[in-house]
């Protein structure tokens, strides 16, 4: 690929999977690596765990947690470089917020994490995204499998047209080709809706179209839909920007309840929201001629209360211009 400026740069070649990083997480000491401070329910033995899970976990069952990490991720749209060497650890079971001004590549970065980036025709990237220590871009790894483990909630609620609430939640199972018994599926739909904080509002009208819900309810329906396939990571791209304050509050509560059960990465323009929901935080910045980079990343309280970089301080205090 001659029109791909990045992939040919030797230093940006993806490093073989597992080098300098745990390829096999789990077990007593892996938590120290993957999750920083959070108490984690011990999962099943790591050996029993296949790299690509096909079995379903109930959303409320004790889960094994998987962290996400990127190493030197750069991204291009055609010749236009939009991200440069972004390395970030998103600790397992925690909420990581990505903040930064418009156009600095947050969405691009998020979409790289679950391989949605490559659906844009001119898009390419360098570096590695490690889920549980394994590169999601490793050859032979199917994008669909990656996306099932790393779910995504979009800025605009996008329930499937013409599908009932129930079918919307169960759709992930069908799309991923997971066969479940009817009663199992009922249970899964219910527990996903409960987790998304929507159950009490829709329990009596599961068969009505999902498109008939309010915007905030639709967004929580989309969260429930993502949870139903029991992902290890949930990516959220400005999930509340189209919602009113009350719905925003509900979604934030949902995020708070999901914390500790899976890894969440959320893009937000709302500084208060970032502080409320996240434990760790990364500040992205791009300028006219430089692609997006992480200026500062770390503990949320630290980043907001006592930022190291003056640009971070300016941004989180609303003095940016």
């Amino acid at each position: 690929m001659t029109d791909n400026p990045g992939v040919d740069t030797p230093a940006q070649q993806p490093v073989p999977v597992g080098v300098g990083y745990r390829a096999n997480a789990g077990g007593p000491d892996s938590d120290a690596v993957e999750t920083l401070a959070l108490p984690v329910a011990a999962g099943p033995s790591p050996a029993a765990r296949p790299a690509l899970r096909s079995e379903l976990r109930e959303p409320d069952a004790p889960a094994q947690l998987f962290g996400l990490r990127t190493r030197d991720v750069s991204a291009w749209f055609g010749d236009h470089k939009v991200l440069e060497r972004v390395s970030l650890t998103m600790p397992a079971g925690q909420v990581t917020a990505l903040i930064g001004p418009s156009g600095c590549g947050k969405s691009t970065y998020l979409r790289i994490l679950n391989r949605m980036h490559e659906m844009v025709r001119s898009a390419c990237l360098a570096g590695a995204v490690l889920l549980d220590g394994e590169d999601v871009y490793a050859p032979g790894r199917r994008p669909a499998d990656v996306r099932r483990r790393i779910g995504m909630v979009f800025q605009r609620p996008n329930p499937f047209p013409g599908m009932s609430i129930y079918d919307n939640v169960a759709s992930g199972l069908k799309l991923a080709g997971i066969k479940v018994r009817k009663d199992q599926r009922d249970h899964l739909v219910e527990s996903s809706l409960v987790s998304a904080g929507l159950w009490t509002e829709v329990r009596n009208r599961l068969r009505t179209p999902g498109g008939a819900l309010s915007g905030g309810q639709q967004q929580r329906l989309c969260i429930a839909r993502s949870l139903a396939v029991s992902p290890d990571v949930l990516l959220m791209d400005e999930p509340c920007s189209a919602l009113d304050p009350t719905s925003t509050r509900r979604v934030e509560e949902t995020i708070a309840e999901l914390r500790g059960r899976l890894t969440i990465v959320i893009v937000t323009h709302n500084m208060q929201q970032a502080q409320r929901v996240s434990q760790s935080c990364a500040f992205f910045l791009a300028t006219h001629d430089t692609p997006g980079r992480i200026v500062e990343a770390g503990d949320t309280a630290q980043l907001f209360g006592n930022p190291v970089d003056p640009r971070t301080a300016d941004y989180v205090n609303g003095r940016f211009g």
């Binding site: 099932r148 979009f154 996008n158 047209p161 599908m163 080709g177 839909r225």
Partner: protein, 342 residues
């Protein structure tokens, strides 16, 4: 300056500024229109209304010319199967259902081809193949129907007879309408509703394809990505997003195709061997339709027979109009439904 025009000044006053006395009634809101807009609107409105006018004139003309025959025949026009120009026996009880059968055959063949093509073009085809296919399909629509008719008569028919024989031999026993009576005569297999329908299907494939392709490609990107983000394959995405989204449009497209098939004339007239009994065996020689009836008979007609042909044309006109209007409603509803889903 905002308050240049009198209207703007009025709008700028605080609403209900008159205090308690101000009437709580909807006020008249006027917006001044520029002359240019006025002219443009007038031209467009005239053009739009002229469509109604033309349609009305055609219907009026058909009714006027057909009334004579309708008077002469009475209701038997709708129950009589025979059409005898000499003895002035006119009825569409055979030609109308026969035309519908031909159109149905055409749809059964055209719809699967058109829909799979549309899905392929809008969802799977690489850019170069896509544009080539789109223009090829458009080209298909531009071929005159006489060409399809000649092709069907001289190329398709001799070659498809073998397939027809095979089908009736193997399936005719179990499926009565696939039987061919007097199958030992070679001519029994030609000029059948099936062969005519096959040719007509080629003529409606373009319209069904391009309308469906359009609604498919309008399936919103957000929902598509939603499906992919759940770990869907492309086919899963098509099934859960593109097809449900396009359902209404496809139904409308199929109905438009049906209307086209009902109206198709030359190709049908070339291939059929006219008969005046309702078709029960679609692989068997003999078929008819209103439009081909008109095409084949108007040259030899006396005034009353001509009037009868006009009356038959009126029935076809009415049927096609109803089907097309239904199609428009279905398409329109699917559009607005799509808009609310946004």
């Amino acid at each position: 300056m905002i308050s240049r025009t009198p209207g703007a000044v009025r709008h700028a006053e605080p609403v209900g500024g008159g205090g308690d006395q101000a009437a709580d009634r909807p006020r008249r809101i006027t917006a001044p229109v520029t002359p240019g807009d006025l002219v443009f609107r007038g031209v467009l409105r005239a053009a739009g209304l002229s469509v109604f006018l033309i349609m009305g004139l055609i219907a009026f003309f058909l009714l006027l010319r057909g009334l004579q025959a309708l008077h002469a025949t009475g209701w038997s026009f709708f129950t009589q199967e025979k059409w005898l120009t000499q003895s002035h026996v006119f009825g569409i009880a055979a030609v109308l259902p026969d035309g519908v059968i031909i159109a149905m055959v055409a749809l059964v063949i055209a719809v699967p081809v058109a829909l799979t093509t549309a899905v392929y073009v809008s969802e799977y085809a690489p850019e170069r193949i896509r544009s080539a296919l789109v223009s090829l399909v458009d080209l298909m629509a531009a071929i005159p129907s006489i060409v399809y008719g000649l092709w069907g008569l001289f190329f398709l028919q001799p070659r498809i007879v073998g397939f027809v024989r095979w089908t009736t031999m193997h399936l005719g026993h179990w499926i009565p309408f696939l039987k061919v009576r007097s199958g030992d005569i070679g001519a029994s297999y030609t000029s059948s509703p099936f062969i005519v329908g096959t040719v007509v299907s080629l003529m409606i494939i373009p319209i069904v394809t391009s309308l469906s392709r359009e609604v498919f490609s309008q399936a919103p990107q957000g929902e598509r990505e939603g499906a992919y983000a759940l770990g869907s394959t492309r086919w899963g995405m098509v099934r859960s997003v593109v097809l449900p989204f396009g359902r209404g449009g496809v139904v409308g497209a199929v109905m438009l195709g049906f209307g086209r098939a009902m109206g198709e004339t030359i190709a049908v007239a070339l291939i059929i061997s006219p008969k005046f009994t309702v078709t029960t065996h679609i692989l068997e020689n003999g078929a008819n339709s209103i439009s081909s009836l008109i095409a084949l008979h108007f040259g030899e007609s006396d005034p009353l027979s001509l009037s009868a042909l006009m009356a038959a044309g009126l029935v076809l006109f009415g049927l096609t109009l109803v089907v097309n209007m239904l199609a428009a409603v279905v398409i329109g509803r699917s559009r607005s439904g799509a808009a609310t889903a946004d």
